[in-house]
């Protein structure tokens, strides 16, 4: 991503991810409220369904993208010293990428063992 595109693109990503998060959250809450899976196996079967795996993965990707843009905004406003800014952003970048990989692993494993 070029430095030039980091304003508009970040803003668009934040809006799109927000819409997806909102819609999916409603679905998730509805699902848990209406027919929550009763056992570990039921959870796994649910998650292993390709549509669920895919949309759930997309949910977490949206969440991390959304969080990244938000954190970056806060850092741009409040963290002025350059080195500290790089440090804070790196910590969040690694944290978010790490969480993303972990989520991907969980979803992938659910699909493997059914």
């Amino acid at each position: 991503m070029s430095r030039q595109a980091s304003g508009f693109r970040a803003w668009v990503l934040q809006r799109i991810s927000a819409v997806y998060l909102g819609v999916y959250l409603v679905y998730l809450l509805g699902f848990i409220a209406i027919e929550p899976p009763q056992s570990f196996e039921a959870w796994r079967t649910w998650m292993a369904h390709p549509v669920v795996s895919f949309t759930l993965l997309l949910f977490f990707v949206s969440l991390f993208v959304h969080a990244w843009v938000g954190v970056r905004d806060v850092v741009l406003d409040y963290v002025k010293p350059y080195l500290l800014r790089v440090l804070v952003l790196s910590v969040f970048a690694f944290g978010l990428i790490g969480s993303g990989l972990w989520v991907a692993k969980v979803i992938f494993l659910a699909g493997q063992t059914v």
């Binding site: 030039q4 980091s6 304003g7 905004d73 741009l76 406003d77 409040y78």
Partner: protein
Amino acid sequence: MKFIVFRYNPDVDATLRMQEYEVAASRGMMLRDALMEIKRQDETFSFRHSCGEGVCGSDGVNVNGTNLLGCITRVSDLKEPVTVRPLPGRPVVRDLVVDMSQFYQQYRAVRPYLIRRDPLPEQEILQSPGERDQLDGLYECIMCGCCSTACPSFWWNPDKFHGPQALLQAWRFLADSRDQATDERLDALEGPYRLFRCHTIMNCVEVCPKHLNPTVAIGKIKELMLKKAI
């Protein structure tokens, strides 16, 4: 009426102080009149003002926490004691007089004038009444700075973020049917700071003495960017 006024003269004062004054309120008295009365009582006190009717934009001050124009604010509408401070976030030159250079630089940066590619015609460049209507709510800005100095994003990055006043004017020229530099203007607003530091906090809308709406203008700029991108 009791007024508590911010005082600071960098040449002689080590630090700022809040000074109390008593002013007898008269019927229809505006805050500017009260400040002039204070000036009569104490010649060392400084503030900016000129037209006295909300046109020149020079007497923006922060009163009881809100930015406003002294000349169009009735003292009877203010809660006592009336605390008067300079516009927030700006370097203080003296008392209520602040340095607005950054505010003007941001205004200059959006190129607040028509840019034409075509050769200029002999006469005016015509607009339909509908095209002219697009400029309502934009051209009326008197550059008082009440909005930008109320904007937290402008407090944190006055050197990089254009602020609501300049962005309102950026849209004023984007919306002008006679202007021919739309793409250049949009490109110049790219990056994480100039436009996109606005978080839709809407302090600007709340304080504008001309009832203009920079937040809507900023939204329209983003909308136009989106349209151009897809």
